[in-house]
Amino acid sequence: MQTETSLAPLPDVGGPAQPLLTVRGLTKHFPLKTGFLGRGAGVVRAVDDLNFEVLKGETLGIVGESGCGKSTTSRLIMALMAPTSGEVVFDGRTVGSREMPLKEYRRQVQMVFQDSYASLNPRLTIEESIAFAPQVHGLSRGDSRARARDLLAAVGLNPDQFARRYPHELSGGQRQRINIARALALRPRLVLLDEPVSALDKSVEAQVLNLLQDLKGQFGLTYVFISHDLNVVQYMSDRVLVMYLGRVAEVGPVEAIYAGAAHPYTAALLASRPSMDPDLRRTEPPLVGDPPNPINPPAGCRFHTRCNFAEPVCSTVVPPLHAAPGGQQAACLMVVPGSGHSRAPRIAA
C-alpha cells in the first residue's frame, strides 16, 4: 500500500461524529509488595473506572493534583502500560485488537512529556531523534531526514542551525519544541501533552502554548492536554476533565466549569488559584490538608473527607456522573436527584 511507505496523514475512519478516543471503564491498580510481616498488602487505585471521550479536533484538558491519576491515565491511553480492566477505543476500533494493532495505534497517537531532557536520547542529534520513528515505520533515511527538517521549521527552529546539534546544547524551551516536532513526525491524529510547559519559564511557556495552538490548526490535530495549572488548561482546552484520586470529579465545556463548578472539589481548585490582584487577596484557604493517599481511598465519594458539604450519605454512596445545570457532568450527590443529600435537587413529580 502506498500510504505505508510514504507515511501520509492518516484517514478519518469513523466520520466527524465518531469520537476520536473513547475510554471505557479504564482501571489501573498497582499491587503493593506484601507489608511488614505479611500484613497490609494493598493496591494503589491509581485510576478507577474512568469513562470519557475525546472528540475529533477538540482539546480535552485534564486537571488534578498529584496522585489523582492524570499521568497514569496518559500512560494507559498511550498503551505504555496494560490496564487492570477497561478498554481504549480509537476512532471506533479497540486498541490492541486486530483492527487496531499497537504499531498502527502508535502511529496515530503520540505524546509529549514534561521533562524535555529526559525524553530525548542524548546520543542522537536533533535530526536523528525526529527521523527515528518515521524510519522505524518504513520511511527511507533520506525522506525521514527531510521530514525532520520540515518539522524543525514548523516548530520555529532553523533546520540548518539546529539539525546537527545534541539535546544538551539546547535550552529547555528549544528542547520542548524538538519533542513536539518528534511527536508530529508520524503525522499522528491525537497528541497527548503531559504537562508540556510546567518546567518552562513563563515567557517561554507562552511561546510554546502559541506554537501548540498553531500546529493544531496546521496539522488538524486533536489534543489531550494534561496540566496542574488551571489557567493554562482554561486557555488551551475546549472541554475539561477534573480528576480526584483516580476518578472523574467533573467533566464538561470549559466555559461551564470555569463559570460555575458543580463539584465542590472543582470549585475549591479554582478558588485556590492566586488572585492576581493584590486588593483581592485570598483570606481563607478553600481546602485544608493534602489529598489523601490513593492506597486506601475514602469509601463512597472520595472527596468527602475534605468536602465542606459532606453528609453521612457521601461516605457510603459512590456518586455517579450526572448532568449538572451548567451543561457539564459532575460526580457529586448534590447534583443527583433523590440521592439522599440535603442539597440534591428534588425528583420532579
Binding site: 524551551g173 502559541n210 470555569y258 484557604p285
Partner: protein, 324 residues
C-alpha cells in the same frame, strides 16, 4: 535604630571555575524595612536565588567572589566568619527552600530537628526544646502535632513537610525569613494554604520576608513590594499594586503579558522573543536590549539608571519618564 533590617549595596556575585566566570549578580541594591515583605520575581538564571543565598552566606565559599555590602540586622554578612555566620543563621536570618525533602534530614525525626536548632541557638534543655518543638508544629498548623514530632520526613505529605520546614526556620524567631520558591513544588490547594500561613506568621511574628518566585500570582498574594530581576540586576522595583497594574520596564511588561491568566481564551499570548543573555560576560548597556521591541541608541552605551514617574516605583529603562 536607623538602619533598615536589610541593606544591600552594589552586590555582585561571580562564580569562578577553571573554564569560565559566571556573573550571576551584577550590582543589586535594596533595603528592606522590618515587617516588610519583598518579592523578587525572575526567570531561571536571573540571579534571584543567588541574591537570596548571599543574604545568608550560603553560596559555595571557594568558588564565589562577592563584592558590595550586605548588612542584615546590623551584621556585616560579607565580612562575617563562618563561625559568626552560624550564630547569625537561625536567630537573625533563616531560610526555607523549594524542596523540603532535600532540605530536611531524612535520618532524624521532625521533632529532633526542631529541638536541635533551638538547643544550639538558645541553649535550652532537651525537655524545654521538645516542648518548643511541639509549640512550633502547632503554630504551623500541623494536625496531631504531638504524633508528628516522632515522624520522619518521608512519612509526611508534601504540604506537611513544607510546614515542618517552616517550623524549623521559625524556631529561633528570626527577624528575617528568606523563602526560595517555597510553594512551587506543591499542589494548588496546598500552595494557597502555605501562602496564607506564611502571610499570617509574618504578621504575627513581625518578620521581614524576602520571597523569591517566578510566579506572579504568588507575588500578588504575599508581597508589599516587588523587584523584577533580569540578568543579575533589579530592572524594576515598586509596590505590588503599581507593578502588577502598570509595569514600566518592557521586560516586566512582557513577563506580565506572557503569564496566562483567567479569561485569556482565544487571545494570542504575548511572548518575549529570544532568550536571556549568557552571563559569562557582563552585558554592556541594558541586558534586555537584544530582545526589546523598543530598543534605541541610548540603551546601548551603559546600563540605564533607575527612573520613575512616582516615588517608590522605578525601572532601569531610558523610556520611563522621570518625575521632577
Amino acid at each position: 535604630m536607623t538602619e533598615p533590617l536589610v541593606r544591600v549595596r552594589d552586590l555582585e556575585v561571580r562564580f569562578v571555575t577553571r573554564d569560565a566566570t559566571v556573573h550571576a549578580v551584577n550590582g543589586v541594591s535594596f533595603d528592606l524595612a522590618e515587617r516588610e515583605s519583598l518579592c523578587i520575581l525572575g526567570e531561571s538564571g536571573s540571579g534571584k536565588s543567588v541574591t537570596l543565598r548571599a543574604l545568608m552566606g550560603l553560596n559555595p565559599p571557594r568558588r564565589t567572589k562577592l563584592s558590595g555590602a550586605v548588612r542584615v540586622g546590623g551584621h556585616n554578612i560579607i565580612a562575617a566568619s563562618e563561625r559568626r555566620m552560624a550564630d547569625i543563621r537561625g536567630s537573625t536570618v533563616s531560610m526555607i527552600f523549594q524542596e523540603p525533602m532535600t532540605a530536611l534530614d531524612p535520618v532524624f525525626t521532625i521533632g529532633r530537628q526542631i529541638a536541635e536548632t533551638v538547643m544550639r541557638h538558645e541553649g535550652l534543655s532537651r525537655a524545654a526544646a521538645d516542648a518548643r518543638a511541639l509549640e512550633l508544629l502547632e503554630l504551623v498548623q500541623i494536625p496531631s502535632a504531638k504524633r508528628r514530632l516522632a515522624a520522619y520526613p518521608h512519612e509526611l505529605s508534601g504540604g506537611l513537610r513544607q510546614r515542618a520546614m517552616i517550623a524549623i526556620a521559625l524556631s529561633c524567631r528570626p527577624k528575617l525569613l528568606l523563602a526560595d520558591e517555597p510553594t512551587t513544588a506543591l499542589d494548588a490547594t496546598v500552595q494557597i494554604q502555605i501562602l496564607l500561613l506564611l502571610r499570617r506568621l509574618q504578621q504575627e511574628m513581625g518578620m521581614g520576608v524576602i520571597f523569591v518566585t517566578h510566579d506572579l500570582g504568588v507575588a500578588g498574594e504575599i508581597a508589599d513590594r516587588v523587584a523584577v530581576m533580569y540578568a543579575g540586576k533589579f530592572i524594576e522595583e515598586g509596590p505590588v499594586r503599581g507593578l502588577m497594574r502598570g509595569p514600566l520596564h518592557p521586560y516586566a511588561q512582557g513577563l506580565l503579558g506572557a503569564t496566562v491568566h483567567s479569561g485569556m481564551r482565544g487571545e494570542r499570548l504575548t511572548t518575549i522573543p529570544g532568550a536571556p543573555p549568557n552571563l559569562e560576560r557582563v552585558p554592556k548597556g541594558c541586558a534586555f536590549a537584544p530582545r526589546c521591541a523598543f530598543v534605541e541608541e541610548a540603551c546601548l552605551p551603559e546600563v540605564p539608571a533607575f527612573r520613575g514617574p512616582v516615588p517608590g516605583h522605578a525601572a532601569r529603562c531610558v523610556r520611563v519618564p522621570q518625575a521632577a
